[in-house]
């Protein structure tokens, strides 16, 4: 996998690649995004699109635990493309700024990216240029806010704050 990763990264002109726990991640720039996917599809037989999604890296989080060490605040966009013969999978990764995140759409390369990008757009507020139908897919039409951003709080957690380090509750008689 390491060899394939190196080959692929070189072919698309990636800035770096990692193979961690069996997952190959190739970092590309915003401008190389569509070109990298095209190279993957045409030259490396990676015709299968698994998914397109994003990670919100933030240091202040409204829900859950904050990262241990400070991270660079950004959206990390991921696209997993693979082949259907040997099961190789490449995660293309690119960084987007949190405000005004916008990148070219992958629907011309993979039609299946259509729905995945709609979901990423409504959950993270990422604009995909050239997308044929960037409407909400899961959320109702009038929904305000972008749920998967780390700054989006959950009402239940505001009412009842996170209990902290509790993993296993005792049996009913234990609290005496």
């Amino acid at each position: 996998m390491e060899a394939f990763g190196a080959e692929f990264a070189q072919a698309v002109g990636a800035s770096g690649h990692t193979v961690e726990h069996g997952t190959l991640k190739v970092r590309v720039s915003n401008q190389q995004w569509v070109a990298a996917a095209t190279v993957g599809r045409d030259d490396f037989d990676l015709v299968y699109l698994s998914y397109v999604s994003a990670i919100d890296w933030a240091n202040d989080v409204a829900v859950g635990d904050a990262p241990e060490e400070p991270v660079e605040e950004r959206f990390e966009l991921l696209a997993a493309i693979g082949d259907v013969t040997e099961g190789r999978l490449v995660h293309l990764s690119t960084d987007l700024p949190k405000d005004g995140a916008s990148i070219a759409t992958l629907t011309d390369v993979y039609p299946g990216a259509n729905w995945h990008e709609r979901e990423a757009a409504e959950m993270f507020n990422i604009a995909f240029e050239g997308h044929p139908n960037l409407t909400k897919i899961y959320l109702p039409d009038g929904f305000e806010g972008f749920p998967l951003q780390k700054s989006f709080g959950l009402l239940a957690r505001e009412v009842k704050p996170w209990p902290g380090d509790v993993d296993v509750e005792g049996l009913p008689g234990d609290h005496e």
């Binding site: 015709v47 299968y48 859950g64 299946g112 909400k136 899961y138 959320l139 959950l154 296993v168």
Partner: protein, 395 residues
């Protein structure tokens, strides 16, 4: 104008009347007997031919990815069962394996074999549910009863081991749940599988095989079933792949690709099984591929029971689990297709970000493509053959 002129001109007039019919917009769902859950399809229908179909999703969106950011790993395990509820156990596996990879823990062999057995049973449960519901959509009500009767046996077996029929919640990081029934008041003996489980399972596999043969002749030999499903909803392989379709649908379109053979999340390389594929990619092939997969799953279960080693059920992990920093994507061959979890851990008790790649979401995205120009009754034949579950689509 004189009468003569008028009559003369009348001959020149050519009258062409075309019946002006408008396309009717038909709203199928969300409450509808045969969409597999709350799915809404806005279909533009011209007579009986569908010109355009737009699925409206989100009626069952439960926000799994957000919720898993505020839950610990065991809690997420319990939640994740409910994504594809027809095959409960199979949903947990990729998540647990991802967490185990990040922790550097490997489940003992016995636990892995038990995981294989239960995953294949989940596959049987899902495919048998399909065997029952697909003919039902075409109008045959009897196979439903036969398929669910056999499915009950499988669910009873799963329940005898895990305690739950649909939502087993049996995996733990490091293995499978071992202290079944033990608590503070009982001796902390590690309880293994229930007595008689193996013999009952082997008997159930014989029943399942017999049921497969019966289905093949009763349903597969039924002339009306054949003309309703052959050639209906053909999906070429290259379209399927570019849309991200996976699982039995992809295999029915002729692509021989099974994640059980290419991934190492469970020890499938120890077992001998075939990958059934179809030729045409129509609804009949999708049905037939799943029928064959039932047989192959029974084969795997038999081999697993035969070769299961003894040993501990769970590796040593601390009581409060904190997964070290890292990212991993693990994907598994779920009954419906590829299910994967991209787990980002920042060293906390719960995931920092969990991306759930569910199979039915991608499988459903071909619906606008595949349904163009199809007759209205075939809409249900095609949708039924795709075998999706709304929990999987909407997460």
């Amino acid at each position: 104008m004189t009468d003569q002129d008028f009559m003369h001109h009348l001959g020149d007039v050519s009258v062409s009347i075309e019946l002006e019919t408008e396309d009717m917009t038909l709203n199928i769902g969300p409450q509808h007997p045969s969409t597999h859950g709350v799915l809404r399809l806005v279909a533009k229908v011209d007579g009986e031919i569908i010109t355009d179909v737009e699925p409206v999703l989100g009626y069952m969106h439960r926000g799994y990815e957000k919720i898993s950011e505020v839950r610990t790993y065991p809690q997420v395990t319990a939640l994740v069962n409910r994504i594809d509820w027809v095959s409960g156990y199979a949903n947990e596996i990729p998540f647990i394996v991802a967490a185990e990879k990040l922790m550097g823990v490997e489940a003992p062999e016995r636990a892995q074999y038990i995981r294989v057995i239960l995953t294949e049973m989940a596959r049987l449960a899902s495919h048998l549910a399909f065997m029952g519901s697909f003919p039902l959509e075409l109008g045959a009500t009897t196979p439903l009863m036969y398929a669910f009767r056999d499915r009950e046996r499988i669910l009873d077996l799963i329940e005898s081991v895990t305690g739950g029929r649909f939502h087993p919640n049996f995996n733990r990081i490091g293995g499978v749940k071992s202290n079944a029934g033990a608590g503070k008041t009982q001796k902390k003996a590690s309880q293994d599988l229930p007595a008689g489980f193996f013999t009952e399972t082997l008997a159930a596999m014989d029943v399942v095989d017999a049921s497969c043969d019966e289905m093949e002749t009763l349903v597969g030999g039924n002339e009306i079933f054949l003309i309703r499903s052959k050639g209906v909803g053909v999906l070429p392989a290259d379209i399927a792949v570019s849309y991200g379709v996976s699982g039995p649908i992809l295999r029915a379109s002729g692509v021989e690709f099974d994640l059980r053979k290419t991934e190492d999340y469970l020890p499938y390389d120890q077992f001998d099984f075939d990958i059934p594929t179809g030729e045409n990619g129509d609804s009949y092939d999708r049905w037939y591929v799943r029928l064959q997969e039932i047989r192959q799953s029974a084969r795997i279960i038999r081999q697993a029971i035969e070769g299961i080693p003894s040993g501990p059920l769970r590796a040593k992990v601390p009581l409060i689990i904190k997964v070290p920093k890292g990212e991993a994507y693990v994907r598994a061959e779920n009954p419906k297709g590829e299910m994967g979890y991209y787990l980002v851990s920042e060293g906390g008790q719960g995931p920092y970000r969990l991306k759930i790649r569910s199979s039915s979401f991608s499988n459903l995205s071909i619906l606008p493509w595949i349904l163009e120009g199809v007759l209205l009754p075939d809409l249900l034949a095609v949708m039924g053959s795709l075998d999706f579950v709304l929990g999987d689509v909407d997460r």
